[in-house]
Every structure is written in structure tokens, then in C-alpha cells.
Amino acid sequence: MQAAMHKVFLVIQREYLARVKKKSFLVATLLTPLIFPAIMAVFVWIAVEEKENQSLRVIEVVDETGLFFMESSDQYAFSSSVENLEEAKALVNTGERYGALYIPKMELSAPQGIQFYGLENPSTSLIGYLEGALKRKIEDQKLYAKGIDPKVLKEIRTEVSVQALTLGDAGEETVTDATVNYALGFLSGILIYLFIFIYGNQIMQGVIEEKSTRIVEILVSSLRPFQLMMGKIVGIGAVGLTQFLIWVLLVGTLSSLVMGVLGMQMPQQQAMEMANPELMAATPDTGELGAILQVIDGIDFVSLVAAFVFYFLGGYLLYGALFAAVGAAVDAPSDAQQFMLPITIPLLVGYMGLFVFVLQDPSSSTSFWLSIIPLTSPIAMMGRISYGVPFWELALSMGLLVLGFFGTTWLAAKIYRIGILMHGTKPSYKTIWKWVKSAN
């Protein structure tokens, strides 16, 4: 037993070092996490640059209705120095004005005929700005017409937010927030899905390499096929974990570094607003930020991380064995496609289920089953876990995942043992089933 474990360890070591020592591993590991902070930095940088280099654009307004007073902003100033459109156009042509806005006489109930003249194509943000401003003005006019003061309307508008709390068994209250839970479930589910696919594929490639280069014949005269298979799965899993840990560390430090440096140049809030103004509209003000922090504070991160690691590894091991079996059954990666379906379908069901059911309603019965059945549970359960899952459900799901892992490994070992020695013949599902049934 000890000798057997020792050999598995040797295989793990080889698989691990063979990959970690590769230059491509180093490049992928170091560059991937740089992408996000880099994109962030580029956005912020562009925003800052644009703001600094911007010159005020003056737009001539020719308003035949006499109702519109356009308010100037940091970017745009409005003047109404000429009487008719032709003169305004001339100002644009000489470059004295950036553009001319023409508002013809019209019915306020059906505003049309408004035109903008410029030497160049106006940006969508300028058109948007103009449309927004005109819309507000027309709405105000309409309110006056009905005898309502727009100021009154503004006063009536009220911000309401409901604070959600969950009651624990002992009556303790935890502040929750669906958005935070959604984000956590979404992120961890996707990570597990990607991890299984990327590293599962590496297992398959590795098995095919050993099989097609015939190394496997020498290997299995020194090792049990099962030792070889498990060593490969665990070794590649360790590579993935290493990469993942490095990413977490790098993304963490780099992001805070980038934000820290930029934070000195401009307030973070403003930087984000510049980078993505639409997002800012949806994000709450500082008062709500405090609430989010409170929610994050309320999440039991130790058990969340523990569950993530469990489902991360459990899902990988469960599918890893299947990937190994597919690799053993075929001679070349191109032949593998026909056997990928039994792996891809449950993974996709878990992935789609996460978005369609689990994150929408974590406690529905579909969500329950998706998070219990071992093939989909690694992805689906991560979508539920931050919302809080009854202990027995979690225990059942984890227990079944472990059983499922033993099941797929048992199945895969039977296919693997025979498949790796078979060359030249393309097996069908039927022959593979024969391998599974054969005693030796």
C-alpha cells in the first residue's frame, strides 16, 4: 500500500513538474491576472487623459420656440448669439462654434425637426446629452402646462431600500443582499466550470500523449494503470491549484496597487464613474456602500471558501476521471470529440442551470436537485451557498459528490486500463461498455 502510494506520488510529481517547469505555464500564470488590472488601468488612464485634454465645446443654439434654455456643462457650452440657422451654420463653418443646434417651431406634444449641424460626426455621448437635456425641458414644460411645478415632483421622489436579514436557528440576524450573493455564486460557479474544462482537457491530452507515443506500455509495466491515472489527475489538479493561488495573490496585490496609485490622482469614485458612467448610475451611493460592506461582513467567508475548495476539487476529480477515460479510449485528440458529450452535457446543464434557475431562485426544487446531483452540484451548489443552504442538503450534496467521484473513477479506471493498450481501432460506445463489463 505504501509502495503503491509512493508510486502515485512519483507520477504526481512528474506531471506537476513537467507542466510547472514549462515556459508557457509561467507566461500564462503571470500574464493572465495582469489583464484585468491592465484593462482597468487603461480605462482610467484614458478617462483621466480625456478629461485633462478636453476643451470646452461651444454650441450655437437657434431656438425658434423660445422655450429652451440649455444648461452648459464641463464639456459643452451653449450660446445664442445669432437669430437664424444660416448665420449659425456660418459660425460652425468658420470654426467659431463646434456645432449648431436647431430647434424649429413645433408642438411640444410631438417634438420633431430638431437638428444638429457640425463639421464632424457628433459623438453618441453629445447627441445623448442633447436629447436628455431637451427631453427634460419638454417634460418640465408639460408639467407647467398641467399646473405642476417640477420642483414639487423632485421633492416627491423618494429613495427606498429594503434591508434583507436572515434569521439563524438561534435567532441571530444576518444582513444579506441578493446582489452580493448573486455575484459570489456567479463567480465561484463560473470558476469551477472553467477549471474543470481547462484542466480536464489537460488530463485528456496527457493520457493521449502517453498512449500515442507508446510510453504507456513501459509505464504500466512499472505501475498499475490506476496509479498512473490517479497520479495524472492529482498532479494536473495541483498545477491548476498552484496557478489559481498565484492568480488570487497577483490579482489581489496588483488591483489594490493600481487602484492605490490612481487613487492618489483622482478620487476612486470619480475614476470609476469616468470609466463606466452607466455602471455608476446603478451603483449605490456611499450610504449603500456601507450596507454592502455590512453584507459582506455578514457572510461566513470561512465556510464559503471551504465549500468552494471542496466543490472545486470534488468537481475536478469527478470529471477528471472521465476526461482520463476519454483520452484512453482514443488515439488522437481529434477522435475524442465523439466521447466528449457525456462530459459536456452535464457540465453545461450545471452551468446553464446556475444562471437560469439557481441564481434566480436558489431554493426552488430545480435548484435543489441541480445542487444535489453530483454531476451538476459542483457548479450549482456554489450558486446557492452564499444564500445559505440547510446543513443536511449540503451534507447530502457533498456526500453524493464523494460517492460520484468514486463512481466515475471506478468506471474510468476500467475504460482506462484496457483503452491505453488498444491501438488502431476506433472504439464505439458499445466496445467501451464491453471494457467496463470485462472482469480483467
Binding site: R214, I215, E217, I218, S221, S222, L421, K434, N440
Partner: protein, 298 residues
């Protein structure tokens, strides 16, 4: 000593080995001969514990084969392969470790073999950067790195260039001298005649013949005589072939056709001065074909 007792193996409906018995003596070269598909590779895989027999036993040093035997056996499969992206040193260390050597033993052995073949400078080269001949050397080292008591070579000379084939032959003979039991499997029977002490012939899952080469050859009567005459006095019978002719020497190949060598010699003297007279024994391949025909397997 390696002993095979009543070994049977079937794949589905295909019988790969039928009641096979073999005794492979220690410190000798044992040739396992037979055409492709006769069951040689199946037998070798069973000895290597890659697959399991349906019934029968493999006895090594008086014991049933078990996991410990891995350390005692070295195996060069017919289809060879190494990790292309792995360095020579790392690869050899890995193969010796999975055979059961400790880290320090492995280092010492790998160093020894690299120095022996004067290829220490390849240490850090990847297999994909080596020529085919160089890779063959590494492959051979990987096979014998753990000093196996039993060495199993499946079609050892196929794929080797002449230089490396000669090297391989020398190494095999050296290992034999050192007491290694060598099992050499091939379908090219002529290639091993001079190398093997004993052979067994397998045809369609069954053993059809075994014994030492000398013994087998003496069991099969010579078919032809090589003879040389100083000159020809008269016309030769039609069945006699002139193999070579030069000034003062004519080489003949004469079928025995049921005569004893003595009778033939007497007759031959009538044609001129006999310089040499030698029985030509059948090759292993001819014996094999003869045996297959005789046993009605063909």
C-alpha cells in the same frame, strides 16, 4: 529461472494463448519466435503484469509473480516511446524511480549509464531534440536502468539503425554474461539464430516447438549440402546448383533428396576433387514452416 505453466488467455472470442508451458533458464538468451499475432506480445504483457491471464501461472525464482517482480523485470516494448518534452536526465530518473529505485540509487545508475555510453553531455537535452538513434540509446538505458534479473525485449532490433543494433547486441551479450535472463521475442527468426541459446516457437496461441538451437537443428535433418570441388570433370545433375565458380574452386549446393551425406559424398567424388563438404542445416524459419506444416496448423 522464469517458468510459464499452463497459461491461457482469451480476448473475447479470440484465443491468444493456449496451455502454454515454457521454462526460461537463468543467464541465457531465450528466443520467443513466431509470426505476428501468434501470442508473443500477450505472453510478454502477462509476464510484465500489464494484463492478467485467464488461468495458469508465471513463476519467477520459485514464486508466483507479484508486485515485487516489477523491480526484477526490464521491458523494451516493440512500440517505443519517451516523453518528448522531458529532459534525458529527468526522464531516466523517473523511469528508475517508478521501477522502485531510491533517489540516490537512481542518480548513481543514470550517471553510470550516461558515462558508459559517453553521452553525459545530453543530460539536459529534451528527447525531441535528439536524433532517432540517440533516443534509442536512451530507451535502452531506461529498460536496463534498474539492473533487472529478467530482460524482456520485444522485437529489439526493429527500428534500430545498424550501428545501434550492433551496440544493442553487444549490450545484450554483456548482460547475459552478467547473469541476466533475457527473453527475446521476434517474428524475424533469422535475426536471432546466432544470439539465442534456446528458443520456443509459438503459432496461433500454441507452442509448437522448443529447445536449444543445436538440439532443434539436430532434430531436423539437413536438407542440403554445401560442397566445393577443385574443378568439374563432367556435367552435373540438373538438381545441383553452382553457387559460385572461380579459378580452381566451384561451390555447389546439392539437395540431399533422401540420400545420406555419405552416399552423396561418394557420388560427388566422381565429379572431381572434393575440397570441402558441409551440411547446410535448415534455418529456424524453414524449421518453423516445416513444423507448422507437419502439425497441420497452417
Amino acid at each position: 529461472m522464469l517458468e510459464i505453466r499452463q497459461l491461457n488467455k482469451t480476448y473475447g472470442s479470440h484465443q491468444a494463448l493456449t496451455d502454454l508451458n515454457l521454462v526460461i533458464p537463468e543467464a541465457g538468451i531465450f528466443g520467443l519466435l513466431g509470426p505476428n499475432g501468434a501470442g508473443k506480445t500477450t505472453l510478454i504483457r502477462i509476464i510484465n503484469q500489464i494484463i492478467e491471464q485467464d488461468s495458469g501461472e508465471v513463476i519467477l525464482d520459485g514464486q508466483q509473480l507479484s508486485g515485487d517482480a516489477i523491480r526484477k523485470i526490464g521491458y523494451l516494448p516493440e512500440e517505443r516511446g519517451l516523453y518528448k518534452k522531458m529532459g534525458v536526465w529527468d526522464q531516466l530518473i523517473y523511469f528508475s524511480r517508478i521501477k522502485g529505485l531510491t533517489a540516490s540509487e537512481a542518480k548513481q545508475r543514470v550517471t553510470y549509464w550516461l558515462e558508459k555510453f559517453e553521452i553525459s553531455s545530453w543530460k539536459n537535452k529534451k528527447i525531441e531534440d535528439l536524433s532517432k538513434g540517440m533516443a534509442q540509446k536512451i530507451q535502452f538505458i531506461a529498460t536496463v536502468i534498474h539492473s533487472p534479473r529478467v530482460l524482456i525485449l520485444d522485437e529489439p532490433f526493429s527500428g534500430f539503425d545498424p550501428v545501434n543494433a550492433a551496440m544493442l547486441k553487444n549490450e545484450i551479450l554483456e548482460l547475459k554474461k552478467g547473469g541476466t535472463t533475457i527473453l527475446l521475442s521476434t517474428h524475424r527468426m533469422e535475426s536471432v539464430e546466432l544470439l539465442c541459446d534456446q528458443v520456443a516457437m509459438i503459432h496461433k496461441s500454441k507452442k509448437i516447438l522448443d529447445g536449444s538451437i543445436r538440439e532443434i537443428k539436430s532434430r531436423f535433418r539437413p536438407l542440403e549440402i554445401h560442397a566445393s570441388l577443385s574443378q568439374l570433370n563432367q556435367e552435373l545433375p540438373a538438381a545441383w546448383k553452382i553457387e559460385a565458380s572461380e579459378e580452381g574452386k566451384v561451390d555447389l549446393l546439392i539437395p540431399l533428396e533422401g540420400q545420406s551425406p555419405n552416399q552423396l559424398l561418394r557420388e560427388l567424388m566422381n565429379f572431381g576433387e572434393v575440397i570441402s563438404f558441409q551440411e547446410r542445416f535448415p534455418s529456424m524459419e524453414e524449421i518453423f514452416i516445416q513444423q507448422v506444416n507437419a502439425s497441420g496448423h497452417a
